[in-house]
Amino acid sequence: MEYKPNEIKEGITLHQIPNDRFKTNLMAIFITTTLTRENVTKNALIPTVLRRGSKQMPTQEEISKTLEEMYGATFDCGVDKRGDNQVLKFYFESINDNFLPNGDENMLKDSLEKFLELVFDPYTDGTNQFKPEYVEQEKDNLKKIIESKIDNKAKYAMDRCIEEMYKDEPFGLYRYGYVEDLESINAENLYQSYQQLLSQSKIDLFVSGRDNPKIKEWVNQNPNIQKLAARKPQFVSISSKPKDAPVPEKVVQESMEVTQGKLMIGLDLAIEDTNLQYPTTIYNSILGGSANSKLFQKVREEASLAYSASSSYVKNKNNIFISCGIDIPNYEKTVEIIKKQLEAMKQGDFTDEEVENAKQGLLSAIKSVNDEQDTELMYYFAQELMNTKHSLKEYSDRISQVTKQDVIDIAHKVTIDTIYFLKD
């Protein structure tokens, strides 16, 4: 059983991931559009209003009762940043027909229909706008979500570091938008934005679970799909584009009520060739991707400076982010140790064995991508946006081919962009 992408109309793709090993069917709809200061808040608001009511299920209570009757099916939504795109994400999960206590239902077909209705056929009461009450309530809720940015201090530090690195650029925008935009949004102009989004964005529908030859037919014949027109989707295909010139190292310190200091270091990668993502993945793994990594070993195990010390590679933007939770007075010492590790990577101060170990970890992760429905789905979506379309096999092969010298070459393309420290 193979992954099958199918273009339904130009700009709208159905991705089928047949899989009989799960108790559930998982479906996702991703609406991808360019990230702009003008639309970021509206786009973040749209999914929350859709969740309030659809044509057939005009209230949240009716939606909830319907989902509960479907053995606790779940409908979730959210927004994400993917490179310079904003992605509106919707998920619908329900149980696989093989596990229904009464065999007379068609859960997959019902789920698909309910899902498409929730995303594409909102409650408008026959007007050309969303229900004003829903929009006003969700504006209040979104305001609270935007304000809750400060609640998780480690995440806050990460968001702030990105904002400092990408001032006045799309990627520096907060994915939930801005409180000051909310005032001018109303049921009418939000509905217009929604219609515009539906006619211009890239739309991907994923169906993972029990294979059914009829899925494509169900989708094609669905009135909510039929009413969508073909489009040349407006989104930014993700490609590696480094900053024009290395920027001078910037240090930002802020104070908040914290017991532990949160240190973030944003690194720039001067790489252009998408094939270099493979050695970069290995580089990141050796630097801070596992318990064997330089950061974990030197910062936590040897110096006892932190409980957590790790790095993550954001392919979409050619960055690596280092994050540590440390005792506040240890700031200078920790930064110094981290800089030493970056230097050590340049000098090739790591063994072939470390390269092999990093590969083993990554290969193992790739092999088990099919064991989790959402991981599998996100893998194919990432490939879709990167426009690389590498199969899992190709991905593994390329990881296997990386050499120590390839990793050293990457190390020489790494520079510190911003050091961000959240202290008390």
Binding site: F22, E68, N141, K144, Y307, Q360, K367
Partner: protein
């Protein structure tokens, strides 16, 4: 091996208690690449006062030893760290400590047997020195401080403190900087010898395996240890009553966090050593909480539309044979009003009775929820281990859902949902304090 099959979820568990007392459970998952193993001891942060089998005196150790041991088990006499060795094999290894158990685990796609060598070697060979114990105090100290910055953790711990007078469940699993400073290698060895006896341990493995031959692989890696006797665990007497109805802490948060706790000591009296009763009670409480304030409840709709809450609270029932409580957790504009509304809703349902139609719907939801637990090899194994230490076979939840009647729900509603047993824990920032007063 003994085989237990569940026809609803279409899974089987192969189980065997070995001569040394170790219980091994294997759940085959055909077609999965990922393999997962978890080896746990029935020893958690609650167990700091006990009688070692064969001794008569009571042993009391500082709070936080179980978690400290978990950290130190990875260090080997030859200078290597097992976490590094496992990571080098391409497996994801980890460990965790809860109130009632400690577990060591890894998942992998390849090198399962090499990793099994390492796991079973390090769990069976502790190596503690004065020096490595001292160094760990720095790392755990950072971990304790990290949790200090989590308002979600504080609101939870404060709720437990408001409910429990004496029971150690109210204490932080890690212990405090002060209690861990008293830990030395002798204490660690003593607790290890007591609680890491195979008779006090269980292993669960999930993945594409042939159970019988896998059991042999486990057996041949066991060192010879005689099954230990019963460890007598001593918990202080815990009254039914709560400590205080309300606890507040000031922290920088955008919107107040709340935990409503309902202490359920009746569970420890009514279900004594009867796992079936525990499962039924657990399910009944889940159904009742959903009826009261779940996604489709009138109360939730009302609170959501008023802007009081952004999502329905997280509903949990935490229990063992010596403590039990319900927790409703979330963020709310005014947690005190939320609690008042909840109390009123409880009274309304008590007066008007529980509707069969609503119960049927929630039962379906729970069926789906429990079924979903069987999608991932790691989730399955963790669930079987945690339930095992409570004497429960995880399949029982799916089997018992149908047996929860409206009568039984009505009985549990009046027994458990009493205002005397409720507490409210709030974490909010200074300015929210002022604004609530002015409202």
């Amino acid at each position: 091996m003994q085989i237990v099959e569940n026809l609803k979820v279409k899974e089987k568990v192969y189980q065997e208690k070995l001569d040394n007392g170790l219980t091994v459970m294997i759940i085959p998952k055909k077609g999965f690449q990922k393999k997962f193993i978890i080896w746990g001891t029935h020893y958690g942060s609650n167990d700091s006062t006990f009688i070692v089998p064969g001794e008569t005196d009571v042993t009391e150790v500082p709070k936080g030893v179980a978690h400290f041991l978990e950290h130190k088990m990875f260090e080997q006499e030859n200078g290597t760290n097992s976490l590094d060795v496992l990571t080098a094999l391409g497996v994801n290894a980890n460990a965790y400590t809860t109130n009632d158990h400690t577990a060591y685990l890894y998942d992998c796609t390849d090198h399962f047997k090499e990793a099994l060598d390492e796991l079973m070697d390090y769990v069976q060979h502790p190596y503690f020195t004065d020096e490595n114990v001292e160094k760990e105090k720095g790392i755990i100290g950072q971990e304790i401080m990290m949790y200090e910055d989590y308002p979600q953790w504080k609101v939870y711990l404060n709720a437990l403190e408001a409910m429990y007078h004496n029971h150690p469940v109210k204490l932080d699993i890690t212990g405090s900087i002060e209690t861990i400073s008293q830990i030395d290698k002798d204490i660690l060895y003593k607790c290890y010898q007591t609680f890491y006896n195979p008779a006090n341990m269980a292993m669960v493995i999930c993945g594409d395996f042939e159970p019988e031959s896998l059991l042999e692989e486990v057996k041949k890696r066991l060192i010879e240890v005689k099954a230990g006797g019963e460890i007598k665990r001593i918990y202080p007497e815990e009254p039914d009553t709560i400590v205080k109805p309300k606890v507040e802490q000031i922290m920088e948060v955008s919107q107040p966090l709340y935990t409503i706790g309902i202490k359920d000591m009746a569970a420890t009296q009514n279900t004594t050593k009867n796992p079936e009763e525990l499962v039924k009670r657990h399910l009944a409480i889940e159904i009742l909480l959903n009826l009261l304030i779940g996604d489709s409840s009138p109360l939730y709709q009302k609170l959501y539309e008023e802007g009081m809450i952004l999502s329905s609270p997280t509903l949990e029932y935490e229990f063992s044979y010596t403590y039990a409580h319900l927790l409703l957790t979330g963020q709310a504009k005014d947690p005190e009003r939320l609690l008042a509304e909840l109390k009123q809703e409880i009274n309304t349902i008590k007066e008007q009775g529980i509707q069969e139609e609503d119960v049927n719907r929630i039962r379906k939801t729970l069926y789906g929820d429990y079924l979903k637990e069987y999608n991932d090899v790691a989730d399955i194994a963790r669930m079987f281990l945690a339930d095992y230490f409570k004497g429960i076979c995880s399949f029982d939840y799916l089997e018992q859902i149908g047996s929860i009647t409206v009568d039984y729900l009505t009985q549990i509603l009046s027994e458990v949902f009493s205002e005397d047993h409720m507490i409210l824990s709030i974490v909010k920032s200074d300015c929210q304090n002022a604004s609530t007063k002015s409202e």
